[in-house]
């Protein structure tokens, strides 16, 4: 009797353990660490032309999601400073935090800046919320808060990155070897903390500031200019600029427009 029971029980367990081996997951294509996009060619041309304009916003800005910071007493002290997310930030009719970049930079070898870009965790909030940098440019991550943060980059084309910063004034540094746009960043401790990085192998990118204004320095040529927003997605326009020339290029995002890829 016991042998029968043991046999029956063992069979169930074996079945259970055998099927335990299943699994699966998203298929993501990761370039090997350190592999930068091929950018061989002549030295980078001088960027003497200026493309500037405004990222206009039409309609009533949708209310941003409210932030609940009570899960961390330290953050809660600063809750009044950041009552909502900053997904849609409009000032003077212009949309801020839009990444503007070109899709077809001249084929050239672009030097990597040695100066670091900085993201700061201050009052349980990322500053800046959206920024751009070049591949392999140092990114300095600072924790100015007297609480713990982890900075987690949800990379698909770069190695994933997740580092804890339990102490105030801790600084870590990292680099992203591959182009990635956008590269979302989040704090898993404080769910409301999010940022977006645009990582490019060239220097022709910027982020819209107050009033939705922006300025891009470009070499002479004809370019496809992209404006990307975390909620509304991408818009594209062509621009043709001469050496030392200036061009106005405005984009308009509408409050009720559907997000695009």
């Amino acid at each position: 009797m016991h042998k029968r029971l043991l046999f029956a029980f063992s069979s169930i367990l074996l079945l259970v353990l055998a099927v335990s081996c299943g699994g699966g997951g998203d298929k993501t294509t990761e370039l090997p660490p350190g592999a930068a996009p091929a950018v061989g060619g002549p030295a980078a041309p001088n960027a003497t032309a200026t493309v500037s304009g405004k990222i206009a916003f039409e309609g009533t800005p949708p209310p941003n999601e409210k932030v609940q910071m009570s899960s961390d007493p330290y953050c809660n002290m600063h809750a009044k400073d950041y009552p909502t997310l900053e997904t849609v930030k409009v000032s003077d009719g212009g949309l801020e935090n839009v990444i503007i970049y070109i899709n077809n930079p001249p084929n050239a070898t672009y030097p990597t800046p040695t100066s670091a870009v900085e993201i700061n965790q201050e009052n349980c909030h990322y500053t800046p919320h959206v920024f751009t940098m070049q591949t392999s440019q140092p990114l300095k991550i600072k924790n100015s808060d007297a609480t713990l943060h982890n900075i987690h980059a949800f990379a698909e084309k770069n190695p994933q990155y997740n580092v804890g910063q339990p102490l105030k004034d801790m600084v870590n540094e990292t680099k992203f070897p591959n182009e990635e746009m956008p590269l979302p960043v989040r704090c898993d401790v404080h769910k409301w903390m999010g940022a977006f990085i645009g990582v490019f192998h060239h220097p022709y990118h910027t982020v819209s500031k107050g009033g939705g204004s922006y300025e891009l320095k470009l070499p002479a040529g004809k370019y496809e200019v992209v404006a990307w927003h975390e909620k509304y997605g991408k818009q594209t326009q062509m621009v043709d600029v001469m050496d030392n020339g200036k061009a106005d290029l405005n984009f308009t995002f509408k409050a009720d427009s559907k997000p695009t890829d």
Binding site: A8, L15, V16, G22, S71, D72, P73, N150, G164, D188
Partner: protein, 322 residues
Amino acid sequence: MSSVYEEGENVGLHRFALFTACCTVFLIFVGGLVTSTESGLSVPDWPTTYGWNMFTFPLSKWVGGIFYEHGHRLVASFVGFLTVILAIWTWLKEKRRWVRWLSASALAAVILQGVLGGLTVLFLLPAPISTLHACLAQTFFCLTISLALFTSPGWKRGLPVIKREAESIPLQTLCAMTTGAIYLQLILGALMRHTNAGLAIPDFPLAFGRIIPPFTSDKVVIHFAHRLGAVIVAAMIVWTFSRIARFYSDYRLLYRPAMTMLVLVCIQLTLGALTVWTAKAVTPTTAHVATGALVLGTSLLLTLRAYGMVVVKVPANFRGAL
């Protein structure tokens, strides 16, 4: 069946095994909370916690997602500690060798589970490891339930003898099939959670307004397979319950878990629907994980008892004489 122990011997071991099983359900619930609140990476290091020893991490720093992730690690450590005691106790006091080995396999499972938990953090939640972690949690729960059952005085005294005419699918087989189906369904559920496919089909009971959704991505396939699995599991449970209610209702050891399983699966289906309708709100989503474990545990208990009750097969024309 002859008694292995004197009556009352080692009741403490049975109670301890039962306590371990109860703590495991709680651990599964807490583990579900970690996923539901997306806190799995809020503590980026392992086995340390932000550089602290896990057991000396200050309470004041249990903020935000850390509360769930670190809490899960501590509850898991506690269950691991209980399992060590259970294995040692069983090994020292238990006379049945196969029960001793069962406790040793529970210990091995809990150690492996801890390592998988660490790996899933260090490798930033890769779906295969996270899914395996979730599946092994259910397997470990099954082991603790089995140990609690096999060390129980009722089991050791011998379960009642059942006299039944031959069935095309014996009750034991039916119960085992149901348990297997539930386990497969839990694997699908784990796969769905860890591939973030929980809202791949955003409506319920229809799927994109249709009975069969367009299979536009792997996530939709996984999600729909889990829904299909729910229908199969529910049908298996109703079948099992009907068989027991019709022919074995006098045997409380079978009828009670069968009824419990039926009630639990109703709750589970409701929680599954709520998970979709509330866009994966934390409470119904986590309760769905824990209730799934309870359905599996109840079905396993029923299966083991069905195998443990000696069935005497008699010809159909003798039935009236029984």
